[in-house]
Symmetry: C2
Subunit: 259 residues, 2 copies
DNA sequence: AAGCATGTTCCATAATATGGAACCGCATTC
DNA sequence: GAATGCGGTTCCATATTATGGAACATGCTT
């Protein structure tokens, strides 16, 4: 009936409806009562009941104490077996590709691991001159935009003492760095110009996870010449994209109007 | 057809079959080709094809480059939003309850967090005299069986220097502790008798995650009087149960015979 | 070119899912 | 303590929907 898509989708009505139920439960990520699902999906009561019972029996959904539905054992199983970062990368991929289209520079996603920053995914620039693949390569956090974001949001602990001075522009003094981070915090994005390598500029923004805390940073890097003059533009693009990704990761809290 | 269960399951054939496909893919946790699924689930080819197409359309499954099926975006989404430990607890619950039935003592599950051990789940003893609920309470690792397991498998770094001496039986010397751990490693389970508190005994075994590394320890604790004499029995029960849980967590590698 | 393995599409058939209505159990309310 | 409303399940005649055998594509290999 309400075939919003353009797909023919023949011979799978029951399954499609069941999938809608599963999707609703998983995306809501908050126990949904029978009525919630019934209303949200607009299926007849009896059908809803029948499908939900089957989904529960097959462990795709589960009912908790008060009878409301949550994702079932099969979802837990998947979750325990997979590194959340591995999944973050998959979910972030489309966003990163959009950033690539927006900026035409090398795009990176970084997460904290211990007291280090690691880049976990990369989308390459179409230009010949670009940043090498440094996925899994560790770069000093204080001279990378990605790292600065993580410092700013206290996901990574600020080091003490003198920092490595990689170039003449590297901010090697902790207090200077703190000031730099503060500036970044106000703007919403972090930058590093010639601080890691002469001629290399990076820009990054924060990605928030399900609980609202910063879990990763999304950034680009490229030749300083190509980026100077559009740092602010690129910064805001990154903020927007990072926010979009955060929304995707965020549990969608029920729109108040619950029973 | 092959209705192994005793459920009537009426009006949901299509959905049940689809669920079988999903389950097979998620449990295998390795890309499965169309033929794998076709053979594994024993459904007609055309039906399999139709269902798989629908599952892919609804993002419950996904095909990767070579056309084989893996868990889809809905599973990633769930995984990124949930702490794997939260899921571990859910999956471990039944095992823990079995241990509770086996031993009649308080059952605990602990994981390393930073350089500490935290108990993340507990099943209580039916006896009046039992261990209090110390979920989320931190206990010195060197005098808890749960902690010793984590030390043994190097998931937790062995401290240096003198350790806190909580009772006269506490193993406070690192070298002594190392010897204690070695004994535990050989036996397969760790114990602590009167080391944390006089009269309190604990026993624990290792739980391994998807990649085969130790990720948690499963143990019991109770009055030393009730446990003395059956430490070895309880130890082996714990080893068995912990192994069962590990199997559940372990990716089921395809039974070699792949194409 | 032929053979084979992997997947998909077709379509007549009937088995299957459908959904309106009746029903159940349980709180609230009067 | 009857009555009303709410959340959910069960029934069952109906026809819509899924089914599956066979034919058809689409690469590979021989």
């Amino acid at each position: 009936m309400s075939n919003t898509g353009k797909e023919p989708a023949t011979g799978t009505q029951a399954l499609d409806r069941a999938a809608t139920l599963i999707r609703t439960v998983v995306q809501a990520d908050e126990p949904l009562s029978f009525v919630d699902l019934f209303e949200e999906c607009g299926l007849p009561k009896s059908t809803t009941s029948r499908l939900l019972t089957a989904l529960e029996r097959t462990e795709l959904l589960e009912r908790n104490g008060d009878g409301s539905y949550v994702a079932g054992p099969l979802f837990w199983l998947y979750a325990t077996r997979h590194d959340p970062w591995e999944e973050l990368v998959r979910l972030a991929r489309p966003t990163m590709e959009k950033v690539g289209k927006d900026t035409l520079e090398t795009v990176n996603l970084a997460v904290p691991r211990g007291d280090r920053v690691v880049q976990v995914a990369q989308v390459d620039t179409p230009y010949m001159l670009g940043t090498r693949d440094w996925t899994e390569v560790e770069v000093p956090a204080h001279c990378s935009a990605l790292g600065k974001i993580l410092y700013t949001h206290a996901v990574l602990e600020l080091p003490t003492g003198r920092l490595d001075q990689l170039t003449e522009h590297t901010v090697a003094d902790v207090d200077d760095l703190r000031r730099d981070l503060d500036r970044g915090r106000r703007r919403g994005y972090a930058t590093t110009v010639d601080e890691l390598e002469i001629g290399l500029t990076g820009v990054a923004a924060a990605v928030r996870g399900a609980d609202g805390t910063v879990i990763a940073s999304l950034g680009i890097s490229g030749p300083s010449q190509r980026l100077q003059g559009r740092l602010d533009l690129v910064g805001h693009t990154l903020i927007d994209r990072a926010d979009q990704l955060s929304v995707l990761l965020r549990r969608r809290t029920r729109k108040e109007g619950a029973a």
